[in-house]
Symmetry: C2
Subunit: 116 residues, 2 copies
Amino acid sequence: MTKPATVANKQRELKKKFIHHVYFWLKNKGNAADKAKLIEGLRKLSVVKTIQQFNIGMPADTNRGVIDSSYSISWMLIFKNGKDQASYQTDPIHLKFVEECSHLWTKVIVYDNVDV
Amino acid sequence: MTKPATVANKQRELKKKFIHHVYFWLKNKGNAADKAKLIEGLRKLSVVKTIQQFNIGMPADTNRGVIDSSYSISWMLIFKNGKDQASYQTDPIHLKFVEECSHLWTKVIVYDNVDV
């Protein structure tokens, strides 16, 4: 970071954003090909115009009692606001992703959050 | 965003980061004073040096079946790497936060993720 790590600067990029964090549990958890297919699908999905920032992740190697590391893939999106997130849900690119990839997972949890 | 919304730019800020996303369920869910205390505690906690970015959130008004909006407060942190996240866990400011605020919540789920 080039900017000083003040509280205001740490908060700046994420302030007033809509954070959409999805966790996927793959049907065939140990299957590398299925994991790669889901990641490829998410990369294609990331072109949706309303997505300002995204991250495709997997569980870190941390293991305290409160940590859930049972998911396979994490998909975090930053939107400008709730309206942009709503339009993402019905974007043809998103619908195509669901059509092509939803057979890969057995469970999904989504947490949507806005600033307090 | 001043930069063009290319896939590379959308990914840039979060690439190779360690994302630590915590969801808190308050013991007294409807209690505004308890909620304010937790938020104030998190604001104080945000000064920990290894935290590069943070967001204090609450559930958005979305309500599809896959969305968990039962939590009270979301606390998302961006660290440079796992080493910085580990040092945050034992930072005196963090330990003080746990001491002062842990009576407020009944449940916590943490998801730690790194790039695929």
